[in-house]
Structure formats: C-alpha cells, structure tokens
Subunit: 201 residues, 2 copies
C-alpha cells in the first residue's frame, strides 16, 4: 500500500500548489510520527516542507483538521483487508499479517501508523481514528469468517498490532525492533489466525 | 499488587511530610495517566495533591526525576512474575495473564501503566521504563521455561499486553473496554501460553 503521490517528487521547477500541499502533508505525517500531536507545530512542518507556515494554514486550517486529513488511511488498506474474506479461512492469519505488518513497516505508511499511535496517547481525535480503523475494517473481516464474537476478534488483532508497532517503532524493544518484516509476519501470523478463525478461549 | 501506602489516608491532622509526598506521588501518577508526560504540570499535580507547587520541586526536583520516581513499578510485580517460573509450565499463560491484566486493571496500578504508555509515546525516558520492564522480568520468566528465543517470547507477551492496555484504557475500543478483568484474562491466557511455552511459528 503506497501513500506517495507521483506529484511529490522534486522537478526542479518552482513547486505548484499540489506539490506544496503534498510536501506539507508528508512533512506533517513525519512530524506527528516523530513527536506526536501535542509537540507538532505548523512552523516545524512548514520548515520541513520548505514552505511558509501561512501556507499550511491556507491548505489545512487548524492543527486538528490537518491531522485528520493527512493521517487518514488510504482506502486501499480497507479494500485489501476486505478482500481477505474471499480467500481460504485457514490462511487468513498469515494474509492479514502480511498486510498489517506491511502497513506498520512500509516507509510510505509507517509514519501514518506511528503518528496515530503517538498522538492517540494524548489526543481524543487521534484515538478516534485508531478506534474506527480497528473496529470497521477488521470487524467486517472477522464477521465474514465467523459468527462467534467477531468484534472481540477484531479488537484482539488490532490491539496486538498496535502493541507490536509500539514495541517495534516507538519504544524500540529488541529483538522485535531489529527483526525483518518477514520475521514479524511469521511471528504474528499464528496468533492472528487463532484470533480470527480459531477457538477464542 | 497494591501501590497505596498506609500513610496516604486522610487523618484530619495537618499532613506531615510523608503524607504530602505520598499525595503528590499519587496525584502525579494520575496526571501522567490522564494527559501524558508532555502535558503534565507541577501546578496541576500540586493542586490535585492540595500542596504548594514548590513542595513538588522540593520533594522530587525536576519533572523527569518526578516521573522516574513515581512511575517505578513496585518490586512486588517483578517478584510475582519471577515466582511464576516455579509453577507448571502448561498453565503459565493463565497465571501470567492474571498478574499482568490485574496490573493494567487494578485501580492502584492502572495509572502507573497507562501513564507509562501515554508518556512513552513522546518521552524517551518513559519509553526506557516500558522497555526495561518488558525485557527484564518477562525475559527471565521465558528463559526459565524454554531455551527457544526467550527474548522474543517476552517481547510478544509485553507488546500484546501494551496493545490490550492501549485499546482498553487509552483508546477505549469496545468490546474490550467494557469487559471485566476476568473476561480479558480468559481471552489473553491462551495467547500468552503459546508465546511463553508453545511453538512460536
């Protein structure tokens, strides 16, 4: 799942409005991921994007609306999770692990996930974003597989993923922080399998 | 595991230094849990404890040293986890779940855990506290049970616990947030069992 837009590369020309907007969005994601919502400032975001702070306000208004807009998950993530329901249930754990660990590890989406987690710790609207992702996409997948407590299954997968992302990218606990994406997928796939398709207790 | 001290109750007399210190520590834990390290202030902590802000500085020095001191896990937690190694390995998942879910749910320790998680999102020394707990106590337990990647097993248990605490007490994802402690123990015990004593992949 890629978040980068073709217009965000450097062209040598003076950046047009779309390029500036993309550059601000990318810089804002990095800021939220690095320091969390509370410490992120328009000034630092503008500086990283190479624009005037007034342009950030012009494009995005308030810090809250900037956060909501740039931290939205691309629709492709929800679609990829929804598509998992059509495959064999006995491999759903590995398939969902590949998408979700990819999401937290991929450079194009990692800032989005880490930024949400860091910000959710102190910001109710960031918490709301984390909550709606977990409940919506994963719950729909779980419900397609079983009638037995799909909402509970979805929140187990989501909370384990958040815990892994927290240990791997925020707190940097070894050996998890140094593992490859493939190793993490191998490690969490059996757990996700049980959470989604196995007996719960 | 209880964190309250016998001297922290209200006696009707003017509070002595130990009572003030305990009241400040309890108020600081609540502040860190509610708003995280960045937003916690000496003024708000002093106000909640009913003392002058200067007294917070007098007892604890800087915000960082206040955090380190009041957010330290009581030694009883590490001892309880260590004691699990002497029981039967086939029930270690449930036994560790009872201690750890109790830790995140018990009113006397919840503020400690939630405050660490909220603060770790933006504060390196809070992250350090989370990291050392996970690696030290759980790793020792895992190593007593198996030679197969004990450090990986410990971080899986720790990160799942952090994910559960995050979903249950920070982001408030249902149905997890509304469950009883016993229901959460039932839900995570089989996962902790596999993480600590089962095959990993």
């Amino acid at each position: 799942v890629s978040l980068s837009s073709p217009s965000s590369g450097r062209s040598g020309r003076r950046p047009g409005p779309t390029q500036s907007r993309d550059a601000i969005a990318a810089a804002a994601r990095e800021q939220f991921a690095e320091v969390g919502y509370d410490r992120a400032t328009f000034r630092a975001i503008a500086s990283a994007a190479g624009v005037d702070p007034a342009l950030v306000v012009h494009f995005f208004g308030s810090k809250e609306s900037l956060f909501r807009e740039v931290m939205a998950l691309p629709p492709a993530v929800g679609e990829a999770i929804a598509a998992l329901a059509t495959g064999p249930p006995e491999t759903v754990g590995r398939r969902v692990a590949e998408i979700l660990v990819g999401l937290i590890d991929n450079p194009s989406s990692r800032a989005l996930v880490v930024g949400r987690i860091r910000s959710a710790a102190s910001q109710p609207h960031a918490a709301e974003l984390v909550r709606e992702t977990v409940t919506r996409d994963l719950q729909r997948l779980a419900a397609a597989i079983t009638d037995d407590r799909p909402a509970t299954r979805a929140v187990l997968v989501g909370s384990h993923l958040v815990g892994i992302a927290f240990a791997r990218h925020v707190v940097l606990v070894e050996p998890l922080a140094a593992m490859s994406t493939a190793e993490v997928v191998d490690l969490v796939a059996p757990t996700f399998q049980r959470f989604l398709a196995g007996p719960l207790d």
